[in-house]
Amino acid sequence: MVEIHPAVKKLREKDPSSILEVTSFRGEVNVTVPKKDIFEVCRFLYTDPDLQYHMLTDLCGVDYFPQSPRFEVVYLLYSFKTNDRLRLKTRVELGESAVSVESIWKAANWLEREVYDLFGIPFENHPDLRRILLWDGYEGHPLRKDYPVEGPDFDKPFVPEV
């Protein structure tokens, strides 16, 4: 069933090495792409006249801590023409940086800033990469698995700098 998904078929025709793995769970199609090809794949999916994935619904990061490569950046695309959702995933190791798709979808601007803020994955070619939800000067990246929920300094009293 996954083989007849039109986007997967077209990607395989264009460049079979750009698809590492295709899975399907509960009716959703997930395509794993190597990090170096993600920008080209996204641009192809955006500009192709039959697919037209014009909307970036969501961009997020996942931390699979003991596994390596550790992080995964997940893109969820939507096409108005075919009324279809597609999920792209790429793996990033700790310390590596991912490629920004902000030049294709402007929605990625704030979404990538959030992934950088909470996971610590920098994005190349991003026009304005800085922290968005936590304040400047915050140390640490909270959504990583080795960061405690209460924060590292829970037992110390809190003194705000006015």
Binding site: L134, W135, P142, Y147, P148, V149, E150, G151, P152, P157, F158, V159, P160, E161, V162
Partner: protein, 100 residues
Amino acid sequence: MIVAGTLTKKMAPMVKRIYEQMPEPKWVIAYGACACSGGIFKTYSVVQGVDQILPVDVYVPGCPPRPESLLTAILELQKKIEKETLADRKNVRSTLEMKG
């Protein structure tokens, strides 16, 4: 000043600054579970209660508190103000200066 809602560490300096900009006499109501004690959010970015940075006069529990609770809180505050003397006001001032 009614502090309603969760107080985060990013917002705390602004709340303290607003409190210091208020003219005397001033009182603080901590409205809601998050303002009283941090509520259900025991996380890295939430201040566990407004009383960690400001002196609070009336606590209103609830998540969210019913409108009748707010009216009761204001009446309680009025009762508290009636019983205050000038010496009590001086107390609040010096605590603030000690906290720095």
